[in-house]
């Protein structure tokens, strides 16, 4: 019968064609009866939303029904256009009954704050309401979540390219910063006294550092940089504390002076140096107890064994990688490379570099990508086109949200706390977006415990 109708109304198909949809959901509270709906093909997300909401409203029988925003998954991809055009692009026939999964849509992140720096913000980390940023003014900054500047830590001799919290238990905290001055610094920060101390200066790299990552057990950290070497260092804070008497915290002292002081701080040599990349390492991430993932300009992603000190596997791309991030939830890797695309790799696939999907919406180089800590489908990216985008894996062409606000290139993003997406850029600012979505019953706890 549907065929007959189609045949008859063919000329005005664009306007008139009807599609038979069957809705289902995995969220039981929004379940609707298992009936087939014939809807007009030119219906978009909003139309379907109103439809579902109508049904739910009728079903709930409660007057004060609050409409819910849904997203619709058709053939494994999020619906972003009208149904017919979407089906056409996917090559799915309109004549069959189409199963449409609907799910509560990702809530819109809202801009929360903007923290201004003196220079480009090239690194950012967030932990327990504390924002740690590295800047091109050779210093590391600590901010509260509210944007309150807690500390300016000059110490590096070059732009700070990477920062990472080691731990932060409310009173004591420690973090690592890496810089193009070829050093990584291990800092201890007493929050209450707001005193900062450089515990170790890790020397060993022969060129500027680019990235740092902390191991899961917080005992080690790894750094990579332009000397193509991946170095693993001990992150033990207490080990040689006695050696260094420097009790910093004085903001009055000049950076130069500080530098000298710190340079006299105990030096540390790398535990392991891993050689293998041919060009600069652009990002490192400790993805398991003994696994480190690195991305490099030599077009490869490498998986290293931190225990044994060797390369485990390699993914060869065809562009230089600028950033890589691994999601423990989905076990997938997203990369930012020297083009406008974000690529999704599966490191478990050994044979060659199989790009699972490509996300293209950015207009310039993508500099930084981060997975959502609680949702295996979501990730965010920062690009040189001044935008930060929130992506859903199921929507490769269109991002969920464009988070505008940066006035210059975005150099780093961070989503280590599910509530906040932070991004730093060449407009000397850190932008904080609040994401309203909640951890799902199972996943949330895991990620928050981190």
């Amino acid at each position: 019968m549907a065929e007959d109708e189609n045949a008859v109304v063919e000329p005005s198909e664009e306007v008139m064609s009807e599609v038979q949809l069957k809705f289902f959901t995995k969220q039981e509270k929004y379940a609707v009866p298992d009936t087939v709906f014939a809807v007009q093909g030119n219906l978009g997300v909003s139309g379907l939303n109103s439809l579902i909401n109508e049904i739910l409203k009728e079903a709930s029988n409660v007057d004060e029904y609050k409409p819910v925003q849904f997203d619709f998954l058709v053939a494994g991809e999020l619906l972003r256009t009208t149904i017919t055009s979407f089906l056409e692009s996917k090559g799915v026939s309109c004549e069959n009954v189409i199963d449409v999964e609907y799910l509560e849509s990702t809530p819109t992140p809202s801009p929360l704050d903007c923290i201004l720096h003196d220079d480009w913000v090239s690194a950012i980390d967030f932990y327990n309401d504390w924002i740690l940023t590295g800047s091109y003014d050779h210093s590391v900054h600590i901010w509260t979540r509210r944007g309150e500047h807690k500390l300016n830590i000059p110490g590096h001799g070059g732009p700070v390219k990477g920062v990472a919290w080691l731990y932060n238990d409310g009173s004591d905290a420690a973090f690592i910063s890496v810089s193009t001055d070829q050093t990584a610094m291990l800092w201890e920060w007493k929050i209450e006294s707001n005193s900062i101390e450089c515990i170790h200066v890790c020397r060993g790299h022969e060129r500027g550092l680019e990235a740092v990552t902390v191991s899961e057990n917080k005992q080690q950290f790894a750094t990579g940089g332009w000397d193509t070497l991946l170095k693993i260092w001990s992150a033990d804070v207490n080990k040689e504390r006695g050696g260094g008497d420097e009790t910093g915290g004085d903001e009055g002292t000049t950076s130069k002076k500080r530098k000298k002081e710190y340079s006299s701080a105990s030096s540390r040599t790398p535990l392991i140096t891993l050689k293998g990349h041919k060009e600069a390492i652009s990002a490192v991430q400790w993805i398991a107890t003994d696994e480190i993932l690195t991305s490099s300009w030599d077009h490869t992603l490498k998986l290293w064994d931190a225990e044994l000190g060797g390369m485990k596997s390699e993914i060869v791309g065809n562009k230089s990688f600028f950033d890589v991030h691994y999601s423990p939830l989905s076990k997938l890797v997203i990369t930012a490379s020297a083009d406008k695309q974000i690529r999704l790799y599966d490191p478990r696939i050994k044979d060659g570099a199989i790009v699972k999907s490509t996300f293209s919406s950015h207009k310039e180089w993508v500099q930084s990508v981060r997975w959502s800590p609680i949702d295996s489908q979501l990730f965010t990216s920062g690009s040189f086109d001044n935008s930060v985008k929130l992506w859903d894996l199921r929507s490769p062409k269109v991002p969920l949200f464009d988070m505008l606000g940066h006035e210059d290139k975005v150099m780093c993003v961070n989503w280590s706390d599910y509530r906040y997406i932070l991004s730093g850029g060449q407009d000397n600012s850190v932008r904080i977006f609040k994401t309203k979505h909640q951890p799902k019953s199972g996943d949330g706890k895991k990620s928050t415990s981190q």
Partner: protein, 914 residues
């Protein structure tokens, strides 16, 4: 007769030693019958018989007239015969006499021949009567022989003395003109006759030597043989006659048969060797036995009394000339007169032998002169198709008999080919064809409707559309509904202005009969228009050749297959406030240095676009070059007249400090020659500049610098001052802080120089040409011709074998140094002056930039296979710069490891394309 007979008998004696010679008895005829196998005996007997016969004939000849009468009775018509017979009668007497007087030997031979001769004669004369004559043969055996002889003699006499014969023989005159013709024939045989006569004379003259005798005897033998042969044929007939008549004895028959067999044998033996002839040639010796004058015309002796000289040198006197009376007398008296011939050699009368006469006779009768020759001998078909056991010929088969003939093969192949090609038709085909032709054939009078019409001028002709057949409306008597009513007529009238809209081009009209139909007034016009249509509109199907523009382009690989190459603008490096003239990427690929007209050098972080350092250069920076030695953190900056060696202080800090250490300790005791000092002087900058700007060394040149370039090792660097004439190129050594002026002479306005990446070569580009010098040998290696007006820049491929040259006249030249001194490829891709060219260090890419604001990325693949020429494919046009003061893009540089390209331009920007 005596001596001659003796000679003859002597010769015979060899064969028949026992028998006496000469004519003995008549009764010996009986012996003939008795004689048996023995050849010699036979011969002997024959001889005897002959003699007897001779004698017989002489007797009978006198009575010949009677016989002749008989013969006349038998065939009256034959004049010749009668003549002959009459002659016979006259000369019979002579014959008799001669038989006595002249030599016996020829006679002996002839006597045997009589029967055969007669038979032959008869045949020739009157073949019808042969049988009749044969019947008489037995009786008139001898007479016949005489007939023949007479015949001959008559001829001869006619020949010798015509007058005589004419006068004497009335009948002869009467006889015929045939004789004269015969005379001509016989003239040929005269010589022979003469010879014979000589022989006879010879015998007469008794000049005998043994050898000669032998020869003579041989001759005689031969003659005998001849006669034998004749016998053979004649006897056959004889036997026939004998059988018929039944007179013949058995014995005689036997003898004849034997003779026959013998004769045959002889013939066979004689035939191949031609012995007869040989013998005759032998007689040449005998010719001048008496007269030794030799073979000269004897008329030379006409006036002389003698004829010649004999063996002893004595003159042979001419015999007395007999007068007519003597002649007459002798004619009357001498029975042999008719057969006597005057021998010119001796002047003697010679009596012709019977054989000679017979010969003459034969010739006159158009017969074989040699009577023995059997013209009817059974034909032996030696070369028959039958294959014999033995070869006929001892000679081996010729090669061509067992090798297939080439000419035949060629002929056959020619035939086969022409059969194949249809030029030649097989007989079966021709038969069929003839059959077809014979059938009735029908032709299309008009070309068919469906087939295309063949036209001479128009190919692919489309036939003109056919006219519609007339319908009912055209009829002279159309049905009523076809006739126009008033409305239709009105419509018709209305459409007068637009005739083509009418349904019909005429008004149907009705006539009572076809007779009343008037002539169609438009007929001529319509025919004419139709003809016009046919020939003015040829309606040919035009074959249009479609050539796509793309087909004309050379086959180049798809750029997509040549990835990676920079395609899009990725980053801008902003900060300069004036033209950015030059850029250079750090060997590690992390930083980029740029020199600008704002008198600064900036160092940029490539990945972010951050300006890491700004170094005031104190002049317009025209060239900048990063030291290729990664152990040094240095770059050379050409700013106006100063060449600055700067530590950019980026990268490895350790190297930076080490470099500084190195720089702070200049080698001592360096003394530059004055010549160099005038051009350049090394200077250590002030401390402030040292600390703040990182200046380490300053080289003050005497002219404005245009270019600075490093040697691959990073120790030497060269600077170019185009205005420096012969000192425009300097080569400096960093470690020793020395400078050199490599060229003594100015070869032109030097534009740029380059060090070869691998070998100690030095490229020097003047305005037009590029010279390659060997720095070690200090000589010129090669000169490259650009065929352009002004070189702007050049770049050498990292492999060192290819050179890229940009010119201000918009060209980019690719030189393959192994190939030629002329450009391998000339690329005219840019619309304006090419400012800079650059090779990529790793990828097969090169980039060119121009004042037309474009940067063109090309694929330049160099194959390790020396036979394959480099592949040059323009890939991408990048046009992101902006025009400022007519300047476009100044410089282009590749990232050392990534497929990225940087360009800087007059719009103060540096762009990165990825």
């Amino acid at each position: 007769m005596g001596p001659v007979s003796n000679v003859a008998s002597g010769s015979k004696r060899k064969l028949i030693p026992t028998k006496p010679s000469g004519k003995d008895s008549k009764g010996s005829e009986s012996n003939k019958d008795i004689k048996v196998d023995n050849n010699e005996e036979e011969l002997q007997e024959e001889l005897l018989a002959n003699i007897i016969n001779d004698s017989d004939t002489s007797d009978e000849e006198f009575n010949g007239s009677e016989y002749l009468d008989d013969s006349d009775e038998e065939d009256d018509d034959n004049d010749v015969d009668s003549n002959n017979v009459e002659d016979e009668s006259e000369e019979d007497a002579d014959n008799d006499n001669k038989s006595k007087s002249t030599s016996a030997s020829p006679k002996t031979g002839k006597s045997q021949q009589k029967p055969s001769k007669s038979s032959v004669l008869r045949k020739s004369i009157g073949s019808e009567d042969i049988s009749d004559i044969d019947t008489e043969e037995e009786d008139e055996f001898d007479e016949e022989e005489e007939d023949e002889e007479e015949e001959h003699s008559e001829d001869d006499s006619g020949l010798e003395n015509d007058e005589e014969s004419k006068s004497e023989n009335d009948e002869e005159n009467k006889s015929d003109s045939k004789e004269s013709s015969k005379k001509e024939k016989t003239s040929k045989t005269e010589k022979q006759i003469e010879k014979n006569a000589k022989k006879l004379d010879n015998i007469k003259l008794d000049s005998l030597s043994k050898s000669k005798q032998k020869k003579l005897s041989k001759q005689k033998e031969n003659k005998k043989e001849q006669t034998d042969e004749e016998d053979k044929t004649s006897t056959a007939k004889k036997s026939d006659t004998e059988n018929e008549k039944g007179h013949g004895d058995n014995k005689s028959e036997k003898k004849v048969s034997k003779k026959e067999s013998k004769g045959k044998k002889k013939y066979e033996t004689i035939f191949p060797g031609n012995g007869e002839y040989q013998n005759e040639t032998d007689t040449s010796d005998e010719e001048d036995i008496r007269n030794t004058v030799g073979n000269i015309p004897m008329n030379w002796y006409d006036d002389l009394p003698h004829l010649g000289y004999d063996w002893s040198g004595k003159k042979i006197l001419k015999p007395e000339q007999s007068d007519q009376l003597d002649d007459f007398l002798s004619k009357m008296e001498n029975p042999d007169f008719w057969r006597s011939v005057k021998d010119p050699q001796t002047g003697q009368n010679v009596r012709l032998s019977d054989a000679d006469i017979k010969l003459i006779k034969n010739i006159r009768n158009n017969k074989y002169p040699d009577a023995e020759y059997n013209e009817y001998a059974p034909w032996v078909d030696w070369f028959s198709s039958e294959v014999m056991k033995m070869p006929l010929n001892r000679a081996p088969d010729h090669k061509r008999s067992f090798i297939p003939s080439k000419s035949e093969a060629a002929l056959v192949s020619k035939f086969v080919y022409s059969l194949k090609m249809g030029r030649m038709k097989s007989t079966s085909w021709m038969r069929r064809h003839r059959k077809d032709l014979s059938k009735k054939r029908f032709f299309m009078l008009w070309p068919s409707d469906t087939d295309a019409e063949e036209m001479r001028r128009v190919h692919n002709h489309i036939p003109a559309p056919k006219r519609f057949l007339p319908g009912h409306a055209e009829s002279y008597n159309p049905p009523g509904e076809y006739l126009f009513n008033e409305r239709e007529i009105k419509e018709w009238e209305e459409l007068k202005g637009q005739v083509w809209n009418r349904k019909l081009h005429f008004i149907p009209q009705k006539y009572n009969s076809l007779r009343e139909v008037p002539a169609y007034k438009n007929y001529m016009k319509e025919r004419f228009t139709r003809c016009l249509d046919l020939y003015m509109c040829p309606r040919a199907r035009v074959m249009k050749v479609k050539i796509e523009a793309e087909d004309l382009l050379p086959k180049l690989p798809d750029p997509r297959d040549l990835q990676p190459f920079p395609t899009t603008l990725a980053l801008e490096y902003l900060g300069h406030t004036n033209f950015v003239r030059c850029i250079c990427v750090e060997p590690q690929g992390q930083f980029l240095a740029s020199g600008s007209d704002d008198l600064t050098v900036k160092v940029w972080e490539i990945a972010t676009g951050r300006c890491v350092r700004t170094i005031p250069a104190g002049g317009v920076v025209r060239s900048i070059a990063w030291c290729p030695n990664t152990a040094l953190s240095l770059m050379a900056v050409a700013a106006d007249r100063k060449l600055l060696i700067v530590n950019p202080r980026v990268g490895d800090i350790l190297i930076q400090t080490k470099t500084d250490d190195l720089m702070s300790e200049p080698p001592e005791g360096v003394v530059l020659p004055d010549k160099v000092k005038a051009v350049v002087n090394w200077e250590v900058p002030e401390v402030e500049l040292w600390d703040a700007d990182g200046l380490r060394i300053v080289l003050n040149h005497f002219k404005e610098l245009r270019q600075v370039t490093w040697h691959g090792r990073g120790d030497y660097f060269a600077s170019v001052m185009p205005e420096g004439a012969n000192r425009s190129v300097l080569i400096h050594q960093l470690s020793t802080r020395k400078s050199q002026i490599p060229f003594g002479k100015a070869k032109g306005l030097i534009q740029c120089v380059l060090f070869h990446p691998v070998r100690p070569l030095f490229f020097v580009a003047t305005q037009m040409n590029i010279r390659i010098y060997d720095l070690v040998k200090q000589e010129i290696v090669k000169k490259l011709f650009t065929h352009s007006k002004w070189i702007s820049s050049m770049s050498v491929h990292p492999g060192g074998d290819n050179l890229l040259v940009g010119t201000f006249d918009r060209k980019v030249l690719w030189f393959d140094l192994d190939l030629s001194v002329n450009p391998y490829k000339v690329l005219k891709l840019h619309g304006s002056a090419v400012r800079s060219v650059a090779y990529h260090k790793r990828y097969p890419l090169f980039a060119t930039c121009s004042d037309d604001l474009s940067v063109i990325i090309s694929h330049g693949m160099i194959y390790s296979d020396l036979l394959q020429n480099p592949l040059v494919v323009p890939l991408k046009l990048l046009r992101h710069h902006r025009m400022k003061k007519d300047y476009g893009v100044f410089d282009v540089a590749f990232h050392p490891s990534q497929p990225w390209v940087f360009s800087c331009g007059a719009d103060n920007r540096i762009l990165l394309y990825t």
